[in-house]
């Protein structure tokens, strides 16, 4: 009886080893035939297996005063400031970037322009919807716009307002001699469909 069990055990182990050997041969054959395709597929899937935590909160950045430069720039799409225009009761988040997704959340900062405190042109934009800049027409010369960031608060005074075509980029000049905030929205303020005109408010740094 014992010898039968021993023999069975021995034969079973041999058969399992044979089974593992066959598995190995099959895997080797698959690798030989479709190895490149498998590697390509894994690489492709790995590219879409990304873990990107979405940053919704305001990012902390600092200004180096002597250089008039930020120590680090906010990540694209993150909020780094808030804009307040008391005259039209606007208190909106400012995001770095100007995609549709960003503009849906608040005010966008054109990525080619300067940041508040850097001493150059700052370009902000927002929709002409009721939640954002629908009441832009109520703004007058001398009204204040305040931008609050983690590294300071900047107040600008409106000195000009212009109605431009969307293609007139020269009306939004980038320069580093004077800190100017340019905020624009679509015009007419209450329209239907896409508009080609932009209403721009120009404000200079007060303090």
């Amino acid at each position: 009886m014992h010898s039968n069990v021993r023999e069975t055990l021995k034969a079973t182990i041999i058969h399992i080893i044979v089974a593992l050997f066959i598995t190995g041969i099959v895997i080797w054959a698959i690798h030989l035939i479709a190895g490149k395709q498998i590697d390509g597929t894994i690489s492709l899937i790995s590219k879409v297996s990304i873990d990107t935590p979405y940053k919704e909160h305001e990012q902390e950045i600092n200004l180096i005063p002597e250089k008039k430069r930020l120590d680090s720039y906010p990540e694209y799409g993150t909020q780094y400031a808030t804009i307040q225009i008391p005259k039209i009761d606007a208190d909106l988040p400012v995001y770095f970037g100007d995609t549709l997704e960003i503009l849906k959340k608040g005010v966008g900062h054109s990525s080619g322009s300067y940041f508040p405190g850097e001493g150059g042109s700052i370009i902000y934009m927002g929709h002409n919807s009721a939640k954002v800049f629908r009441r832009f027409s109520e703004l007058e010369l001398g009204d204040e716009i305040t931008v609050k960031t983690s590294y300071g608060e900047y107040t600008y005074k409106i000195y000009d307002m212009q109605l431009i075509q969307e293609t007139q980029t020269d009306m939004l000049p980038i320069q580093d001699e004077k800190e100017i905030l340019m905020v624009y929205t679509c015009y007419p303020f209450k329209n239907i469909g896409y508009t080609t005109q932009r209403y721009v408010v120009y404000a200079e740094l007060e303090q």
């Binding site: 010898s3 039968n4 023999e7 069975t8 034969a11 079973t12 058969h15 399992i16 044979v18 089974a19 593992l20 066959i22 598995t23 041969i25 099959v26 895997i27 894994i42 899937i45 790995s46 879409v48 297996s49 990304i50 873990d51 990107t52 549709l100 997704e101 503009l103 849906k104 929709h127 002409n128 919807s129 009721a130 939640k131 954002v132 679509c186 007419p188 303020f189 209450k190 329209n191 239907i192 469909g193 896409y194 508009t195």
Partner: protein, 280 residues
């Protein structure tokens, strides 16, 4: 002669393993991703319809922001039920080979009514009417685009029909192969059928081990839980389906491994008993 018989037996076991691997794989995919009811149940389970509904609303907001219309203009122009009906229609197009199109009349009518109600002056200029029509067309196109999510819908529909056709043929061919191989193994071992049973066990064990290794390999190579395609709704449903698929692969592996080992043990046990009885 005995050695030749053993070699032939193991060659047949190898063919049996490949056939078992293939047929098990076909069974898993036909019961999961190629099964319309399964996909629909997974979409329901992962709140796909709700997610797509929210995505559509969110996309609409992009257009409202630019249009200058009030934000609430998009409220109540479509329901989650309508989204579910249209998603199911697209799934049916893929799985049943139909070619039905999404009906946007309801959205069109609702949106038009809401825009007209929001305008103070009911006498619209031609230019305003055109702007409204363009806006409604854009919204309806955006809706259809978000529901379909691919411009290759037609191609996918054709692919599915072809794949199912070939899979049916392949499944039948594999089934016949398995039966023939099993009969051949039994014929080679006609003097001692228990040897044949153990050999079939080897085939099942190999297949089981293959699936377990495949599952481990895929799970170590690919971070399934972070796969991101198009948006969170689609990614979530896709991850859930892949997870379930891999779970089935693992389960299949362990079942075949268990069946294989039982067959090997039983085959060897009775084979030894027979040999012992012969010796006595």
């Amino acid at each position: 002669m005995k050695v030749l018989g053993t070699i032939i037996r193991y060659v047949l076991v190898m063919i049996l393993t490949v056939a078992l691997i293939s047929i098990a794989f076909i069974n898993i995919i036909t019961s999961t991703i190629l099964n319309k009811e399964y996909v629909l149940s997974k979409l329901d389970e992962t709140d796909y319809y709700k997610g797509i509904y929210q995505e559509i609303q969110s996309n609409f907001e992009n257009y409202v922001g630019q249009s200058g219309l009030d934000e609430d203009i998009m409220n109540d122009i479509l329901t989650e039920e309508k989204v579910k009906t249209d998603v199911d229609l697209i799934i049916s197009n893929i799985y049943d080979g139909t070619n039905k199109t999404i009906d946007t009349t309801e959205i069109r009518t609702n949106l038009n009514r809401k825009i007209e109600n929001s305008i103070d002056n009911p006498r619209l200029l031609v230019i305003q009417r055109d702007a409204i029509d363009t806006f409604i067309d854009t919204i309806c196109n955006e809706y259809t685009k978000t529901i379909i999510h691919t411009k290759y819908e037609q191609n996918i529909n054709n692919i599915y029909v072809k794949v199912v056709k070939y899979i049916k043929i392949a499944k039948q061919a594999l089934l016949i192969t398995i039966i023939i191989v099993a009969i051949l193994i039994c014929l080679i071992c006609y003097k001692n059928i228990f040897k044949g049973i153990a050999s079939l066990g080897v085939g099942a064990t190999s297949t089981g081990v293959f699936y377990i290794i495949t599952n481990i390999f895929i799970n170590t190579q690919i971070k399934i839980n972070t796969i991101t395609i198009l948006n969170s709704t689609i990614s979530n449903s896709l991850r859930n389906i892949i997870d379930d698929f891999m779970g089935k692969v693992e389960k299949c592996g362990f079942v075949l491994l268990a069946v294989g080992i039982v067959l090997i043990i039983l085959g060897n046990l009775f084979n030894n008993r027979k040999r012992e009885a012969k010796g006595n």
